[in-house]
Amino acid sequence: MNLGKADTHPAWCPGCGNYPILKTLDDALKEADVDPSRLVLVSGIGQAAKAPHYVDRKTNIFNGLHGRALPAATGIKLANHKLHVIITSGDGDMYGEGGNHFIHAVRRNIGIKCFVHDNQVYGLTKGQASPTSDMGFVTKVQLHGVINLPMNPIALAIVEGASFVARSFSGDTGHLKAMMIAAIQTDGFALLDILQPCISFNRVNTFKWYKDRVRPIGEGHDPFDRDAALRLAFKWGEEIPIGIFYCSGRPSMESQIEVLKEKSLVEQYG
């Protein structure tokens, strides 16, 4: 049965926070002058994970398994570290199913830019709690509300030494674009956690909820100060900081591998 051709037109709900993220990604890639031929967009499975199919300028895509965007991206980056490798995926994908890869990609500090559309819910599977869901969040599975402490991916990325750790908000595209470009320009692993309203399944953390709370991190913050970064990372509630929390200054994994000093593996083939 012909149910319409391939989906290069977003299959997202009207009003979803993924739209401005997609648009901003397009803009950031252009502004950072990323050649689509030398870019691979990697994702797992989920609503956010469909984003690579929708970008403006056709590029390379690896839309892998749920939770496995990071290892796929790692393989790509190690095989051809001269490519830009950007992940755009969901919170469940990255912090739930993919949690172990997240820890270890950060430790490796591999030069992957990881944009997490954090809607604090599992969108595609219709609204279960995600690792970042707030306590008390009620779903069809968590009937009495979530009792786990929400995962703190920002703090985790800081303590395990990522090159770049930031948060932004889909509702502030100017800020978001700046963060994306800064991440793209980082050597090493970059985490950009993006607050993203899900209008269908998250009736708590709405656009307004985020809008009322997000506060750009002040000029005074030194992102090389880990202690300060961590203190900021625990702010969640009436005020939610957005901006660059932390920069570790560590060299990227690929820059430390002898075999990759001159040419990429792909260039060395044959």
């Binding site: 895509i61 690896f62 796929a72 890869h101 792909v266």
Partner: protein, 554 residues
């Protein structure tokens, strides 16, 4: 002439280094050598042994019995004494045991000016004396082994070897070794042969999580990495490993991973990913007894049906099951080629027995001979990764050039974009499955060893090749009429070719290292055979010719 030397002791006592030393020096002398290892899942203590079998004709498998047992501990003596063949000899550290040649290896090492832990070198000297060989041949090999160590270490070891030789001079030639016949000088293990084929064949990314008995290949790859320009990385888990391999394959380099059953279980979702994204990855599965952790350091052939059916959904895969170090080399290369030609995963099924087994064979080619990745380099902006073709093979480009390469674990259209169109799904699914036609046509047929007309046929796969082959020789020598049919490729199976070689036999016996006769099932399923006899071993130990012959005759 055929002598089996069994060196046994605790983990950490140098059983393996004594065994290696003997195997290497005896091979260097021009004897046919076959070395196998039995060890426990511990770093110190317990009971390990190392068999070095030597002969003036080519060897293929180990033996149940030993002609010469070297027991470095009391436990080794007690447990393995019963495995000594009639007319055999025992060299033993223990003075309490009767009927053994007692040498205090440790004391002798110290007396020779060496360290206590050089007891194992003393033992090798004694072995040389018993075999009636010259200790100089052993010392030559010692110079080789210790060439990068300080001169002292070498000198001490040489002194220990001589000491052992001297102390046993009275028994010179008691277990007379065969005369050297100019056998090829290089010993290869299965693990190393796979690594050699992989590194010379162009694998640029080897990713694994340690797991016995696959780790030896990982170590060899690491060793090869600088020479061949390979990134060898330890993954955080096996799921990461298989997905990283997919990523690297996508980006354009041959990628491989290795594991054992438990790790492979974790890779199964990734296998499916390689199936739908049509990525050429190679997975080595080194089998050991399960279920679950089972017996980590023993051998088994329990993963045949699992490997054939692993992964959700249906897709093409090739599965090879090498039967010797040479086949490990050849089939690893073929696995890489098939994976790339058909853009689909290939699996190499090996096992602890074959991983650790060493055999001297003509040198394997280690010059870099990267396989053809079968990629197109002239694809342009309008490139579509999954063009529907008659062969099922779509021209494959890699990212970095003008052609954009889109792959998706969801069903996708020809361009690689996600789709929910059921017609496109059908077209893509059929396209992927069509590859099996070419793969089946090209599948290497089973090898028939022995007379065409043999009445009895031993059917086997993988490492059982070696003991079966010896069993066939032994059966025929004893007046039976036997042959072997060995499947080095276990999936897909070319039914016509296989059936033809099977012919009509009085007795068909499947010889397998599992409890259910998995190859027999597969051959029944594919319609090649009906009911057959099963000769199964699943106690964790490898088959030997003796074991097979005895079971057949009884």
């Amino acid at each position: 002439m055929d002598i089996n030397i069994r060196v046994a002791g605790e983990a950490g006592q140098g059983v393996a280094s004594a065994g290696d030393l003997l195997a290497q020096s005896l091979a260097m002398m021009g004897l046919h050598v076959l070395a196998t290892q039995s060890y426990m899942s511990r770093i110190r203590g317990g009971l390990n042994w190392y068999d070095v079998r030597i002969s003036d004709r080519e060897l293929f498998a180990g033996r149940e019995k030993a002609d010469l047992l070297v027991a470095l501990t009391d436990e080794a003596l007690e447990t393995l004494r019963e495995t000594v063949a009639l007319g055999g000899a025992i060299l033993s550290e223990s003075s309490k045991a009767d009927g053994t040649i007692h040498i205090d290896f440790t004391q002798a090492a110290v007396e020779a000016g060496g360290a206590k832990m050089m007891a194992n070198t003393v033992a090798t000297g004694a072995v040389y004396a018993l075999l009636g060989y010259e200790v100089e041949d052993l010392c030559r090999q010692l110079s080789e082994v210790f060439k990068n160590k300080s001169g002292d270490i070498l000198a001490q070891n040489v002194a220990c070897a001589r000491k052992g030789f001297e102390l046993t001079r009275a028994y010179r030639g008691k277990v007379k070794g065969p005369a050297p016949v100019g056998a090829p000088g290089a010993l290869y293990s299965g693990a190393e042969s796979i690594a050699l084929a992989a590194s010379s064949g162009g694998v640029k990314f080897y990713i694994a999580y340690p797991m016995s008995p696959s780790t030896a290949t990982l170590n060899f790859m690491a060793k090869a990495s600088d020479r061949y320009g390979i990134v060898v990385e330890q993954a955080e888990d096996e799921i990461a490993a298989v997905n990283m391999a997919c990523g690297a394959a996508y980006a354009g380099v041959p990628a491989m991973t290795g594991t054992s059953g438990g790790g492979f279980a974790l890779m199964v979702e990734g296998l499916s990913l390689a199936g739908i994204t049509e990525l050429p990855i190679v997975i080595m599965v080194a089998q050991r007894p399960g279920p679950a952790t089972g017996l980590p350091t023993r051998t088994a052939q329990g993963e045949l049906k699992f490997a054939i059916s692993a992964g959700h959904g249906e897709f093409a895969r090739a599965i090879y099951a090498p039967g010797s170090p040479q086949q490990c080399y050849d089939l690893t290369r073929l696995a890489l080629e098939t994976a790339h030609k058909y853009q689909t995963p290939a699996i190499i099924l090996t096992d602890q027995f074959l991983q650790d087994l060493q055999k001297n064979i003509p040198p394997l080619d280690d010059t870099p001979r990267p396989i053809n990745r079968c990629i197109v380099t002239d694809a342009g902006e309008d490139y579509a990764r999954y063009a529907v073709t008659e062969s099922g093979i779509s021209p494959r480009a890699i990212p970095g050039g003008p052609a954009k390469v889109l792959v998706d674990s969801d069903e996708h259209d020809e361009s690689g974009h996600i789709t929910e169109d059921l017609g496109i799904h059908l077209a893509q699914h059929d396209k992927r499955m069509r590859k099996l036609q070419g793969m089946t046509a090209e599948a290497i047929g089973p090898e028939l060893y022995g007379p065409d007309s043999a009445e009895m046929l031993l059917v086997c796969w993988g490492s059982t090749y070696m003991p079966c082959r010896e069993a066939v020789d032994s059966l025929n020598a004893s007046g039976e009429s036997a042959a072997m049919l060995h499947f080095a490729q276990v999936w897909p199976i070319n039914v016509a070719t296989a059936g033809q070689k099977l012919g009509r036999r009085r007795r068909v016996i499947c010889v397998e290292g599992n409890a259910t006769g998995q190859l027999a099932s597969v051959l029944r399923e594919t319609g090649i055979i009906g009911e057959v006899e099963l000769l199964l071993r699943y106690d964790g130990m490898p088959f030997t010719a003796e074991y097979i012959v005895e079971r057949i005759k009884s």
